[in-house]
């Protein structure tokens, strides 16, 4: 699929620019990007997904596209029939009960993207992925106003899809969106400082502004590389736990450092509802906490480093890159 990536990205970017609704996204086939062609999907790889989701982040696309991509892949991977309609991803707490004919899940999930609107979801539970279609939802929202709903799963009929870390795959989606969102915030900031005149010259001519935007550009580079390198690790068909943890934590850090700079150089103009910066920064603020905030991934990655030891940490990073 990689040879088609530039075309795929261009198509996605053009589609996202028009703020498509779910039927338009579904018609594009992008929700099935990661589903093998034999199962009726696009047959794309993780690198393709990261590239498309980066465009989604850049466009501040308000839809559970990445969630549905990942969920559809997990469904297809279990040789279950691909689900139609809008899907989503959740991390659930609760317990699974099996009767002779059917398995049922009792529990709950919080912060589920478009949970109420979704027709089905894949829930992560103790390292397994569960396909569930029946649940009650209470509306919630992230700082961008995107639905982040609380779900109650009451003896919900459940299909166990197999082993998968849904939290990790959700984090992978958010890293790509963060990379794109920060990139778009930088682009807005550059355009703004080039056109806004104060003290008799464009803001861009002020060294203080130049230095700040150089820092933001570095964070854009770091988040972009984190996303692409995590995709590369997943595409190498191996355990990518280390890389995804590092990528989400680094992307979160980029949000922490980058959002403030994008706003600062915009002045009050960027703080308004009318100006497009808020569409990006409100999402970035939310994405940092979703599918594992800094504390979660720092603890997980820190424990991994402690298990590896000082020399073992380097050896492990080198080994990953050499494969």
């Amino acid at each position: 699929m990689s040879e088609m990536r530039p075309q795929l990205v261009a198509t996605a970017a053009a589609l996202f620019a028009g703020a498509p609704d779910w039927p338009a996204l579904a018609a594009s086939g992008l929700p099935l990007l990661l589903v093998p062609e034999a199962s009726g999907g696009f047959g794309g790889d993780w690198g393709d997904a990261a590239a498309v989701l980066r465009e989604a982040g850049r466009a501040a696309l308000a839809a559970p596209l990445g969630e549905t991509m990942v969920a559809s892949k997990l469904v297809a991977g279990a040789r279950a029939s691909v689900q139609q309609g809008q899907g989503t991803l959740a991390v659930a707490t609760g317990w699974l009960t099996a009767t002779q004919s059917v398995q049922r899940f009792n529990g709950s999930a919080r912060g589920v993207a478009w949970g109420a609107a979704a027709d089905w979801l894949v829930a992560g539970h103790h390292g397994r992925a569960l396909l569930i279609s029946t649940y009650a939802a209470t509306a919630g929202a992230n700082p961008a106003g995107e639905p982040r709903d609380s779900l109650v799963l009451d003896a919900a009929p459940t299909l166990v899809l197999g082993r998968a870390d849904v939290l990790e795959l959700g984090a992978f989606v958010r890293v790509a969106q963060i990379a794109g969102g920060l990139e778009a915030a930088l682009a807005l900031a550059v355009d703004h400082v080039n056109s806004r005149v104060q003290f008799g010259k464009p803001l861009a001519r002020q060294q203080a502004i130049q230095q700040q935007l150089a820092v933001l550009a570095g964070e854009v580079a770091a988040a972009g590389m984190a996303s692409a390198a995590a995709a590369r690790a997943l595409d190498a068909s191996r355990d990518a736990r280390f890389e995804i943890a590092a990528a989400k934590l680094r992307a979160n850090l980029a949000v922490a450092r980058g959002v403030g700079i994008a706003h600062q150089v915009h002045g009050a103009i960027g703080f308004t509802m009318d100006y497009p910066l808020q569409r990006l920064t409100r999402r970035l603020i939310g994405w940092r906490s979703e599918f594992g905030g800094d504390a979660f991934w720092a603890a997980r990655l820190g424990q991994r480093a402690l298990a590896l030891g000082g020399a073992g940490l380097w050896a492990e990073m080198a080994r990953q890159g050499d494969r």
């Binding site: 590389m225 390198a229 990655l301 990073m317």
Partner: protein, 382 residues
């Protein structure tokens, strides 16, 4: 997004290097036979720690001048194999300072601009780890503003007469040769009229005086030239081409692993201290996330350089992000760990050393502000 911006960091993650594991094993075997200092305080910032015996052994093992042609004592290996050797040496804290500049900068510059005679005279000894070089750029009045260089070379029958002063010259006291940027056209200003010269350090009229840094170490020097006479062939590359040559030289060496690994020994020591404190575990996690990302950025840039491209802005970003990381690392450890800086234990000694030397990380090789100015230019802001 503007066209200029799209190219700010558009490099893909680098592919794995064929045979990488074997190259790493070779370096690790070498390090087992020639172990870095046991004291972690001497493994930090290890590319400023010189050990000539180590450099000679490394040269004998074929791990210096790796990409240079065999005719000049090199080994004609791919650039990415050299990158692997560098990162393995730095991650282990090996004392590589003696030969570092010759291998990284002077040798490649001679291959690019030097004459056949210059290459034959200097490169074999450099690749053997026996000939060391220093870089004569900064002067009392020319720091970040390198174009303010005033030291001069005047044509005399059969050669050049050199007068002036260089400052902050790392390793001049153990170097055999200096690659100096000098004003070769009388009355010229700024970037014009500059040339690069290769000056043997035993040339009569050279005086090297130590400048002791705040940690008590002798790395810096001031170097005086008093009517030094050098032969015609001391000129490297074109007369008056010095500015173009030196900026190309600097751009090629901003993104190496030495730009983010200078504090690595402290991270490894902190991990091995096993402090069983959730705040320390979290700090380790976040430092590892940055380390992993920087390695990807540095690799991607190195792969681009190996392909013959010149990713100036990307290289400046690697240096800026990497220097920020390696400089912030000891600060972050000091904030979270109750370490005694009295020299009594490995972690405290390593931390104290880095707290002292890390301010230099964002100064050497072009300051943070200069790097960010280059990135801003890449963004189209200047």
């Amino acid at each position: 997004m503007t066209a200029a911006m799209a190219s700010v960091f558009a490099l893909p993650p680098a592919d794995a290097v064929p045979g990488a594991a074997a190259v790493r094993a070779r370096v690790r075997d070498f390090l087992a036979a020639h172990p870095p200092p046991a004291d972690p305080a001497r493994r930090v910032n290890c590319w400023a720690v010189a050990d000539e015996a180590f450099s000679r052994a490394l040269g004998q093992a074929g791990l210096i001048g790796m990409v240079w042609p065999c005719a000049y004592g090199g080994h004609a290996r791919p650039a990415m194999e050299r990158y692997i050797v560098l990162e393995e040496l730095l991650a282990a804290g090996a004392p590589v300072a003696a030969h570092w500049i010759a291998d990284r900068q002077t040798g490649p510059l001679l291959l690019r601009y030097g004459s056949e005679a210059q290459r034959r005279r200097w490169l074999p000894g450099m690749a053997a780890g026996e000939i060391y070089a220093c870089i004569g750029l900064s002067e009392p009045g020319a720091g970040s503003d390198l174009a303010a260089v005033r030291s001069r070379a005047e044509r005399v029958p059969g050669g050049w007469r050199i007068n002036g002063q260089k400052l902050w010259t790392s390793g001049a006291h153990r170097s055999h040769v200096m690659l100096a940027l000098l004003r070769s056209e009388a009355g010229s200003e700024r970037q014009a009229g500059l040339s690069q010269f290769l000056i043997p350090m035993d040339t009569p009229g050279i005086t090297v005086r130590p400048v002791i840094d705040l940690s008590g170490a002798h790395d810096f020097n001031e170097v005086f030239f008093d009517d030094c006479l050098v032969a015609d062939d001391a000129l490297v590359g074109g007369e008056g081409e010095g500015w173009r040559q030196v900026t190309a030289e600097l751009a090629l060496e901003r993104s190496g692993p030495e730009r983010y690994l200078s504090s690595h020994a402290l991270l490894a020591t902190l991990i091995d201290a096993r402090l069983a404190d959730p705040a320390v575990t979290a700090l380790i996690g976040s430092l590892v996330a940055e380390l992993w990302t920087l390695r990807q950025l540095s690799w991607a840039t190195a792969a681009k350089l190996a392909g013959g491209d010149d990713p100036v802005v990307e290289a400046a970003m690697v240096k800026d992000l990497g220097n920020d990381f390696e400089q912030r690392l000891p600060q972050a450890v000091q904030a979270v760990v109750s370490a005694d800086l009295d020299g009594g234990d490995d972690l405290g000694r390593c931390l104290a050393q880095l707290l002292l030397v890390s301010p230099s990380f964002s100064l050497r090789g072009g300051t943070r502000e200069v790097m960010r100015g280059m990135i801003a230019r890449g963004l189209g802001l200047r």
